[in-house]
Symmetry: C2
Subunit: 344 residues, 2 copies
């Protein structure tokens, strides 16, 4: 691993995307999403996604220039054909229009199909909540998760994001409905470690603690039957609103060669916050934080607390990247492979 | 326990509410909600709630006649002051207006404050989804659930409902974000059984398997940290949109003497379903059902499957009610206490 200053990682990554034909502004947006994931300690949604993106552009399944075709199906329902554009480029274009409209109509649904991977939903929810809008975000992905009681992957990791405006940084929940990520399974496999029981099934649908076997099988939903039911409901919700592919038909979120067939849904709501409501919410969150042991094992975190702490640290110390990934990014940017400006 | 034909339970329950001053149509609506919960095997949301409701009316914290004051804050945002009316009476009045508007604007938010207990959210989501609308429903409740790592109740059981139109019966998810219900804890206490570990804390915040101690403490969120985070996000979402009470300030969902200060939020979306989408969803759900062992221990259920099976049975065999509850309902209806027309 090597620590790279986030500004340097940003510069090199943007250069890599520009070299792949992505316009400067779009490259900056896509890279900001990936850098923010790294800053918050979510490497699985970070820069490791960039080489796959340039591969996808090279393979013609991601357009470097498309920004999506928007159609207001009705006054508060924005349907978007993503034209295989870059996930955050298409989504932010749509969310800008959606947020503006939501201030007039009170609520807007943005339903996006034919768009590449959105990455970390928190990035979107935070940006919209910072504008004073309550946000719900959903996106589907390739089937990796088995039903509760099931033997094979039938569901995407189907994350949900909820953003609520606050004084200062908004409250943002962003969680997958899987127990763990396939990235975590791959980490265990790479380190040769056994998985905790209950995480995964092998290709035959049998419970396994063998991480390599699990990469060919499926991962568990979080929260047993309830988490499975929630992930399933979100799968159907997204399909009903975007007419995207469903279950095992979803492609293009993990591979480099197939068109992305999943769907993305955002609901933007102007809450018309009453005076004092955000203060009440802030005071409540402090009570929640204080409802555990202050120093003991049982600490209480509010979603986003840890991510913001890690972010503050990494803005100082840099982003830890695997050396081969950093070399790859510099290579994609057409820069010499030997690191020069990293913080270590 | 005694089995009562659902039509007879309905007749007696409606008579009890009418005697408490509830108009016939409102009584029919409120009772339908409670009977449907009984039919689906969810006694905790069933007729045991009715005597508390008549108490609340007698105590002046539930209005037998209010239907709520609706205000379109903007074209797609309906704010409702429930005027302490009966939960389903106020909500269905608002949802009728909301559903009609959603067909024009694409999406509507219905944000209700000052309303009594909604009961089973599935009832609402199903009714709206049957009209072809995708539905999300949220409601808060008195703090019973501890934060993940916390020692005291800070969150309501904050259920979420998601309805998606289908050919025939819609897909409906309806689940609390608590691991179990306080009703289940009371059942264990009544039977003198020990709780499974991990369900609850006692009044001092220590883990307990003593059900009586747990009734004075708090129950766990489902799905550990993630389920807690989801329940928390829903608490904030509802507060931001309805300006309702938050956390431990919520009253009136479990007691008979205090005004209900929680909030209810529905999001109604006209999905503009493409030809073939509901068929694709239906075929997918059948694949999900078939993804376990067909006969073995690991069966896969789709949300609603079990409820619908139980409902079909109970329409034939009647609703199992505790004898004291049935006697109480007949008493409230001004009918002789000795059962005459039950199926047994």
């Amino acid at each position: 691993m090597i620590n790279v200053a986030s500004a340097e990682a940003r510069r090199v990554s943007e250069a890599a995307l520009r070299r792949a034909g992505v316009p400067a502004q779009a490259a900056a947006l896509q890279v900001d999403l990936l850098i923010e994931a790294e800053l918050r300690g979510r490497a699985s949604h970070g820069l490791l996604r960039l080489p796959r993106l340039t591969d996808r552009i090279a393979n013609g399944v991601a357009s470097p220039t498309a920004t999506g075709r928007m159609e207001w199906r009705s006054d508060s329902f924005l349907r978007v054909d993503g034209q295989n554009g870059l996930g955050p480029v298409v989504a932010m274009e749509a969310l800008r229009s959606g947020a503006e409209r939501a201030r007039r109509t009170g609520v807007v649904v943005v339903a996006i199909a034919h768009n590449n991977h959105l990455g970390m939903l928190a990035w979107y929810a935070e940006k919209i909540a910072e504008q004073g809008l309550v946000t719900l975000g959903f996106t589907t992905s390739e089937a990796l998760v088995h039903a509760w009681g099931g033997r094979t992957a039938m569901l995407g990791t189907n994350p949900v994001a909820i953003g609520v405006p606050q004084e200062g940084t908004p409250f943002v929940l962003d969680m997958a409905t899987s127990l763990v990520s396939m990235g975590q399974i791959h980490d265990y496999a790479q380190r040769g470690e056994a998985l905790p029981p209950g995480w995964a099934l092998d290709a035959n649908g049998e419970p396994t603690t063998d991480a390599v076997a699990a990469t060919k099988g499926s991962i568990a939903p979080f929260g047993q039957a309830k988490g499975y039911a929630l992930g399933l409901a979100l799968e159907l919700l997204v399909v009903a609103l975007t007419d995207s592919a469903i279950g095992r038909d979803v492609t293009g979120t993990l591979d480099s060669t197939r068109v992305a067939s999943k769907g993305d849904v955002f609901i933007l709501i102007d809450p018309g916050l009453q005076p004092g409501t955000t203060e009440r919410i802030g005071a409540y969150l402090d009570l929640v934080r204080a409802s555990g042991d202050e120093q003991g094992e049982r600490r209480v975190a509010v979603p986003g607390d840890r991510a913001m702490r890690v972010r503050a640290e990494r803005l100082e110390t840099g982003i830890p990247l695997p050396r081969p990934l950093w070399a790859k990014l510099r290579d994609l940017a057409g820069e010499p492979a030997s690191p020069t400006k990293e913080l270590t």
